[in-house]
């Protein structure tokens, strides 16, 4: 039921009403000139630590929204992505990670592409890290232009997936589809936050569903997240359950609210709730459980 959740239903209704008005009137949309005030670029960090993996950090810069992206700021490099997008990479950022034992690990500026995740990074650690529940890590990234981003994060506990299952509908033709259910048990003593992603095929592919869930309504109970009928026979489904902290949950919510507000006149824009200070971005530890099923 995730994919046609209530919020989406309301959005569908609103969109329907709007589309009714827009029907046959393609010219109801036009490009306009919007004079925006000056915007000072900020450092943006994105760093997801995982137990047993070498840390990778992506440091980029925010830019004025309508910037054409053709010119890099002094001290930055313009990364041209295959789809034509440009991303500003500052080349003068020194970054380090403080480990739970108090030692620091320098994150070296060595831009590259992570083959496992398909993601770009700008800085990489010197070796794999060990992250156990309750331990704290700290991030420090500073450029030579006076911008300084810091952040700390605590390793969440591991929450296993109890079971995954699927069921096909009664259709026999090409509209035969299955729903997918992921079930786990929430600990009762704590307020917990989760992110559940379902991927078809490899997890580095685009996710099929992506839900942020808090335990407000099922604290201490078993919980099952059910999709609608959407998967075809012989799809390989990977369910990944992340147990996340409240800061990362808030960051995700604020990113979604901000993105929704750009193009939805009924949505209230949100400022980004960063998990770091002095800039924009997220620094967190990912603790996940994963199950794979082939739908037959």
């Amino acid at each position: 039921m995730d994919s046609l959740s209530f919020r989406k239903l309301v959005r569908t209704l609103i969109s329907g009403a709007l589309l009714g008005g827009l029907a046959g009137c393609g010219s109801l949309q036009k490009d306009i000139n919007v004079p925006l005030p000056a915007y000072a670029n900020q450092l943006v960090v994105e760093c997801y630590l995982e137990n047993g993996r070498t840390p990778r950090l992506a440091v980029t810069e925010s830019v004025p929204y309508l910037d054409d992206g053709q010119a890099a700021a002094a001290g930055s490099y313009l990364l041209k992505l295959p789809n034509g997008q440009n991303v500003q990479l500052p080349t003068d950022v020194a970054a380090k990670l403080t480990l739970p034992n108090g030692r620091t690990m320098n994150l070296v500026f060595r831009p590259g592409l992570d083959a496992a995740t398909g993601k770009y990074y700008t800085h990489i650690g010197t070796g794999p890290i060990t992250a156990r529940a309750g331990q704290q890590f700290a991030l420090d990234a500073q450029d030579q232009r006076g911008r300084h981003v810091t952040g700390t994060t605590v390793v969440p506990t591991f929450i296993p997936i109890d079971s995954v299952k699927y069921k096909f509908n009664t259709q026999t033709d090409t509209s035969r589809r299955a729903y997918f259910m992921t079930k786990w048990t929430d600990p009762g003593a704590t307020t917990d936050f989760y992110r559940l992603m379902l991927h078809k095929g490899r997890p580095s592919n685009n996710s099929e569903t992506d839900n942020d869930i808090r335990d407000r309504l099922f604290n201490g109970q078993s919980y099952a997240q059910v999709t609608r009928y959407r998967f075809r026979p012989y799809d390989t489904i990977t369910a990944t359950l992340y147990h996340v902290d409240s800061l990362y949950f808030d960051f995700r919510q604020s990113v979604r609210d901000a993105r929704n507000a750009n193009g939805n006149p009924f949505s209230q824009p949100s400022a980004i709730h960063n998990t770091v200070q002095g800039g924009i971005g997220v620094f967190t530890v990912l603790v996940k459980d994963q199950k794979v099923l082939i739908l037959k």
Binding site: S27, N41, Q85, Q171, A271
Partner: protein, 781 residues
Amino acid sequence: MSQIALRNSVLISLLVVLLPGVSLGQVRHILSGIVRAADGTALPGATVAVPALGLGTATETDGTYQLDLPAGPQQVVVSFVGYTSQTAEVKLTRNQHYNFTLAASQSELGEVVVQGQQSLKEKLTTTQMGVEHLSIREAKLLPALFGEVDILKTLQLKPGVQSGGEGSSGLFVRGGSSDQNLILLDNVLVYNPNHLFGLFSVFNSDAVQSVDLYKAGFPAQYGGRLSSVVDVKLREGDRQKFTTSGGIGLISSRLTFEGPINKGKGSFLVSGRRTYFDIFTRALNRANEGKEDYSPIPDYYFYDFNAKANYSLGEKDQLFFTGYLGRDIFGFTSPNGFKSNFTWGNTLGVLRWQHVFSPRLTLNTSAAVTTYKYDLNNSIDQFSFTLGSTILDYTQRADLDYVPNERHTIKVGAMLTEHNFGVGRLQRSSQDNSVNFGADVNYTGQEAGLYASDNFKASDKLQLEGGLRFSGFRSGTNTYGGIEPRASARYSLTDKVALKGSYALMYQYVHLVSNSGASLPTDIWYPSRLSVKPERSQQVSTGASFLLGDGKYLLTNEVYYKWARNVIDFKDGAQIFANNDLDSQFLFGRGWAYGNELYLEKKTGKTTGWIGYTLAWTKRNFPPQLGTTGINGGRDFYPNYDRRHNLNVVVLHQLNARINLTASFVFTSGAPTTLPLGRFALQDIYQGGIQAVPIYPDRNSYRLIPYHRLDLGVVYKLRPSRIGGDRDLTFSIYNAYNRRNAYFIYFDQTRDKATDKVTGYAARQVSLFPFIPSVTYNFRF
């Protein structure tokens, strides 16, 4: 207002209330009764006058009047725009009841003669400020979006009233938000006055008699909302004969049936309306059934029913009943087994007993119930998800009208409401019980009001109205209350110039939880509690009215200043959906609104209409609190319904006996909106395409382009059919010059058409409604 000024206003109000006993040393009697049209419909606003004495009054909303006159023979003249005046010789030897029935002045044009509640002369002399009256005939003549006559949208053409956006029937009155309007249907609260996210109001124009909008100087009998009172009265039904009327429009049809009860001892009216989007979408779905790429369009429709009946139990007693039921229904069943049903709407009913103790003393007592609820049910296989919210009120009230002499009109009353808030009801379950959890957050609250007011004619030139309202609210262990003084005054400099002033303090104890610019059915009503204090506003206004052109025109200028505290908004990124801890999501702040409204109107002659211009400012301030930086760091900001300039021009012209031409023009300053200033790239856990995330600066720091629109209409009266009756065709053109008004702006990537690669970013403006013609067929027989 300072405490001293406030105390003085309270004392003045008390004095006014306690000063009715003026002895006149002359034998006088009360002449009272009802003024009706030939079909038995009560006529509010008709003039009942005794020219020889220079005395007169206007009938109330139920057509009743009272005149305190010297004993002896009196010549009474009753008049109303669009009807033939009637003169009666009444010999007053005691308090006497006398009813008048007026015939339409041009029966053929009865349906299209423009009427006003009050003549311009009466508007000049009343103490009430900031009131706009709309007769349903006026609303029916004006052009409307999709031909759907909407009284709330017509009210938006009055000065000081803003809409929530293109096509929306939301009302924002003198800087108040849409939940600060007390919307009453025959004195019963309507919690959600909208269908389809505010595109249409719940009021069926066939069933409505009239609407009064109070923007300031609120009479003491009204309370519970900060910014306005919208008092909608239903028609009572034809007392003489059975009549059927209705209309067939582009998106809905209406049917009304009315007639006498027991040979005119009473009357009834039932009226229904239903849209037919779903009929078209089902046909479309059937036509495309089986196509693999086709996604069925969900069913959507709304309907509403109104019923009203009245019955005379004798000369002194009369019973009234009003009922309303409206629902919006959204249903979806996918071919592969997913079902979703979403319904929402209001239900209300009220039974009122009117007892006339004497022509000087009338008591109305009523018992009412009103509820608004929404229910969402999703199911797939054995799993189900239900969500809902309800507010249910039971209200009892008593209102006593007392006219001790011709200088005083006293109103005293009390009301008590039991609120039941079903704030959130959520359940996820499965048939095998493998999933079963939910939440059910309920509150109760009791709201009470006690009021007294006196309209005191101190002299021919000076008229005062003072009132006091004591209001209170209890929810759990939290009790709130306050004194709400109300005062207005009118001083006539000449018989064509009047100066007016008013003051009103209002409390609001229930609040709408809405974090959206639209009226969503999922908006929740929430009580004042420990951390949610009652909202409070005060408003002073002053103005001058000038009768011009031999009484054909009334020019009014009003200036107002309103300030409010404990106004409610939400934390940045507030989670108000299925949240059982909503208290933690609110922010509390202050608000101000001030402005000047200039209004020129003409109500008689072949060409009627009005021009209104408003210059206004609305501001809000939410300081840092609850671990947040407030809104915009605690700096003042303009809410999205702030408009600096607003010009409305409405013209209705009777071309001949069959054709009426109408036009309305609206110009407003652009609405404040929030646009992103910067963006950053976010990859997320897995590479799924880099997302551009907007970075928003202060709320509402940008303004859309000014809004303007011209609507045109023609009402063409057809010849009577073989079975008789009236018929007309109403043509409307919405947005006649096809203005591309800005509904919202968003930023998007631009792409190379050949390679589909991103080439940059652009701002795009979206408009909602282009030039939209429509036609409606109306009938009555």
